[in-house]
């Protein structure tokens, strides 16, 4: 009884979320600046995560939640990579330096300079 009712609720929420995703796709295509598109992709990813959670509870399986965790993490990395590429025109340069300078670090620094020369 309650299960059938909940199934309907899940389907309704999934449909609402799909409408939201369609709206975001419009922004993704129309967005005047690159950053609008990056924002739309990031927000789309969040919705995909929620959608996967809904879907896996609907099926009663855990696989979807695993993929959702992964998607949440990869979404972050993808956003950082896109932004870094378009800001520095490359993925290599450091955005920030590593803290600390222990003896171990100095040894490694010496080794790196030896390799470079």
């Amino acid at each position: 009884m309650a299960d059938e009712f909940l199934l309907k609720v899940y389907v309704a929420a999934a449909v609402l979320m799909m409408v939201g995703m369609a709206l975001l796709l419009v922004r993704l295509i129309a967005g005047p600046a690159l950053y609008d598109r990056a924002l739309a992709v990031n927000s789309f990813g969040t919705k995909v995560v929620l959608f996967l959670c809904l879907f896996s509870l609907m099926n009663g399986r855990q696989d979807g939640v695993d993929i959702a965790i992964l998607y949440a993490l990869m979404n972050f990395i993808a956003t950082v990579a896109i932004l870094k590429f378009f800001r520095y025109r490359g993925l290599t340069g450091p955005m920030t330096s590593l803290p600390g300078s222990s003896k171990f670090d100095r040894l490694r620094e010496a080794r790196r300079q030896k390799e470079a020369s």
Binding site: Q62, D66, L70, L73, V80, L91, P94, M95, S97
Partner: protein
């Protein structure tokens, strides 16, 4: 103070979590979605995140290219070596049952799959990092006006 402070702190926090998650995906290929290929990509993604934040030079110190070369080779050798071992033991190529025969329980299958998947994990993770190093080390040859 660097304006990338927030990115740095959050990324540092996330790197071990991503690595452990990748290896979880690897070792649970039996029970859920996962396996060597996906796990390799996830572990490589953690390294790529580190390289994005701290620069590729720091990343090459942490994960040296020599390790990458060794990892690629070891992975392929683990994969092919499992097949050769089964072959030498008298079975067909990748006939895992020869490794440890047990009529009730597919122990040989488990052992063989673990070895093969470990090889896939090594190869995929290291090749992904190698591709990132190779592409990332290129200087952009398109001028800014062409974008």
């Amino acid at each position: 103070m660097n304006s990338h402070l927030i990115l740095r702190t959050v990324s540092k926090f996330l790197i071990p979590l991503i690595v452990v998650y990748g290896l979880y995906v690897h070792f649970h290929g039996d029970f859920g979605p996962g396996g060597g290929f996906q796990a390799g990509v996830i572990v490589a993604a953690a390294v790529v995140l580190y390289a994005l934040i701290f620069g590729i030079d720091a990343c090459k110190v942490a994960v040296p290219p020599s390790w990458i070369r060794i990892g690629m080779t070891v992975g392929v050798m683990l994969f092919a070596g499992t097949g050769v071992v089964t072959w030498l033991l008298g079975g067909a190529f990748f006939d895992y049952d020869v490794l440890k025969y047990d009529p009730d329980h597919p122990a040989g299958q488990h052992l063989g799959i673990i070895c093969v998947e470990l090889g896939v994990l090594f190869t995929v993770a290291t090749v992904m990092v190698a591709i990132f190093y190779a592409f990332g080390s290129r200087t952009p040859d398109i001028s800014d006006e062409d974008w």
